[in-house]
Amino acid sequence: MGIQSAAGLLTLVAVLALAAVFLRVRRLAHDDRAYAPVQGNAYRVRAIIFWVMVVVGLPLTIWLVRVNPYSLAADAPQVVRATGYQWYWELDRAQVEAGRPVVFEVSSADVNHGFGLYDAQGVLVAQVQAMPGYINRLSHVFKAPGTYRVLCLEFCGLVHHGMTTEIEVSDGGGSDG
């Protein structure tokens, strides 16, 4: 399962669970009971949720910090310089090989743009901001060969939605990309 589907599923489950709680409270509100026992129960539930969030959630999110795109591939990467202009991308090469790291050196000549890499099925696989005055290095290993697209992911003016280009990813089998 891709990251998007995992995030979507987690959101769906959590929102449905929350909705179930709200619907139950809505259904039972008319039942007139004393506040103290209801409140006591709520405090117990609150303590349970709190400790689950601290003991399970917090270590999980701290651990997940290590899954990030910030560190660069060390072993002989293929390097692509990508510069954003209103409203087109300039790449110094548009062919790379799958299975070996690619480092994109991303910058902008004018305003902020967003360098979004989409695979042949239209799924976003990685991104980095393109900012004037900075070179942001994004390292990525293409899993499969195919025609990938770059879509602009930061609002940059009139033709933001037209600011796309393509990258050809060949099979890493041998031929020089």
């Binding site: 008319h30 910090v65 990030n68 976003l124 037209g162």
Partner: protein, 485 residues
């Protein structure tokens, strides 16, 4: 704990303050409907059903984003002022001054965007206002930013007045946050929930507005003297600090209606417990320091900032999910409450806020942000908590005022249920778009994305119809309400 445990009283604001609250709500309602219509046009364009010139799309996007953030604050200010004025003495001329600056700012922004053609987004990310390839003239960018500055100055004065009144009534902002109770165990002068929320709002909004004003002035200088550059990463940090804190503070303003009305409806007090105070203090700090979650894809930022952005965004969800949300549920659970429009809107608002936090926290995880940042997931998250969290709180106050602040149940809650269903349908389509990698802020969509846009357009019609019903009911009673006040 005497003061904090009794039920909130009905608010009787005899002076002009009440008049201004009514006018704020009226302006909020009218601008809200117009902005929703602008949103509908954008969604129809993305659906492929309405051929809209991209230049106009981005102008509407700028007007919609700016206008919606503006009325979230205006409506929030009305709600908070209304309830806070029962606890501290506020000077009502500040409400009038803020409204005047707001309206002048709105006119400036509308001229700049719709006549001047400015379309730099509500985040006016440097250096876009100055560099448009001739799409808009420099004067339009200047006028838009000046309009924002006026609105910001108005709210800054408003926040300072709130802070002054709390200091006058409770001794200091620290006591407004209840630190003498939280840290020293005092049981005297315990601030009621509304005062605690207002203190937090005054502190964080003031800081947000100072950062916002600073970056607006820097941008204006740059527009006048293009040779004076700004560091784009610094500008981005200032803008997202301002934007994140400001829009988040609006829901901390409106939540006061939940704190005040649910106890009166159920006869169960909302106690200022130490857990409650701790939650608000944590929120005050967190809302100021988690904004780097907007900069996770700026690899020029230090890695520690990104790591903190991720972890603290998660921690920030504790106070709302565990304390305010559960507190509201406990107050209504088996309380004998009979649902009517106002109470159902309040219940919905807590759901919308809590549920809207979930996709946000998930997206603040760096690994997820890599493939969901600046997709439709983001408008999915914030429309969730604004449309289904913040707006129902504002509608609840409108209807409550129409009913002369009588909290005995009236009629059915059907309209709230319908609003919830259309709203959920509408925001789900943004989230599904994000799941399918659809980029945000694209004037034209690929055919394979349009199905989400089309369903969303239909749902938006329902949301707009019900919003019109709520606002029209308030406006119809406005003359009578003003005469009474």
């Amino acid at each position: 704990m005497a003061e904090a445990t009794i039920l909130p009283r009905a608010v009787h604001v005899a002076d002009r303050g009440r008049l201004w609250v009514m006018l704020y709500l009226a302006a909020t309602g009218l601008v809200l409907i117009l902005m929703m219509l602008a949103g509908l046009l954008m969604r129809l364009a993305q659906s492929g059903w309405l051929p809209l010139d991209p230049a106009l799309f981005y102008q509407l996007m700028t007007v919609h984003g700016t206008g919606m953030v503006g009325i979230a604050a205006l409506g929030g200010a009305a709600v908070m002022w209304h309830f806070l004025s029962a606890h501290v003495r506020l000077h009502s001329w500040v409400m009038g001054g803020n409204l005047a600056l707001f309206l002048i700012g709105v006119v400036a922004i509308l001229i700049a965007d719709l006549i001047g053609g400015f379309a730099g987004g509500w985040t006016f990310l440097y250096p876009l206002p100055a560099i448009s390839q001739g799409v808009w003239p420099v004067w339009a960018a200047v006028l838009h930013l000046l309009g924002l500055l006026l609105v910001g100055v108005g709210f800054l004065i408003w926040c300072l007045e709130v802070a002054r009144a709390i200091i006058a009534g409770y001794g200091s902002l620290a006591r407004g946050l209840g630190w003498h109770v939280l840290f020293a165990g005092s049981t005297r002068d315990v601030p009621p929930p509304t005062v605690v929320a207002a203190t937090m709002v005054a502190i964080v909004t003031t800081l947000a507005l100072i950062a916002g004003a600073a970056v607006i002035v820097m941008s204006l200088v740059n527009l006048a003297f293009p040779a004076v550059p700004i560091n784009p990463l610094l500008a981005k940090n200032l803008i997202y600090f301002f934007g994140h804190v400001f829009i988040n503070a609006t829901i901390y303003m409106t939540v006061t209606v939940v704190y005040e009305l649910l106890p009166r409806m159920t006869g169960r007090p909302w106690k200022t417990s130490r857990v409650f105070l701790a939650a608000w203090t944590v929120s005050t700090v967190m809302v100021l320091i988690i904004f780097p979650h907007h900069l996770l894809m700026d690899f020029a930022m230090p890695v520690w900032a990104a790591a903190l952005g991720q972890v603290l965004s998660y921690v920030n969800s504790f106070p709302i999910l565990i304390v305010t949300g559960l507190g509201a549920l406990a107050i209504v659970h088996r309380s004998g409450l009979k649902w009517d429009l106002v109470s159902a809107l309040l219940l919905l608002s807590m759901f919308g806020w809590m549920a809207g936090v979930i996709p946000a926290v998930i997206d603040a995880t760096i690994a997820v942000n890599s493939v969901m940042h600046n997709t439709m997931w983001v408008p999915g998250h914030f429309h969730f908590y604004l449309l289904l969290g913040l707006l129902p709180m504002i509608f609840a106050l409108m209807i409550h005022l129409v009913r002369h602040e009588d909290v005995t149940p009236h009629g059915s809650d059907l309209e709230a249920v319908l609003y919830a269903l259309f709203g959920l349908g509408f925001v789900s389509m943004f989230l599904l778009g994000g799941w399918a990698s659809v980029p945000r802020r694209w004037a034209q969509h690929l055919p394979e994305w349009m199905v989400w846009d089309q369903i969303a357009s239909v749902m938006a019609l329902g949301v707009i119809a019900l919003t019109t019903v709520f606002v029209a009911r308030f406006l119809a009673h406005l003359p009578a309400l003003l005469r009474e006040g």
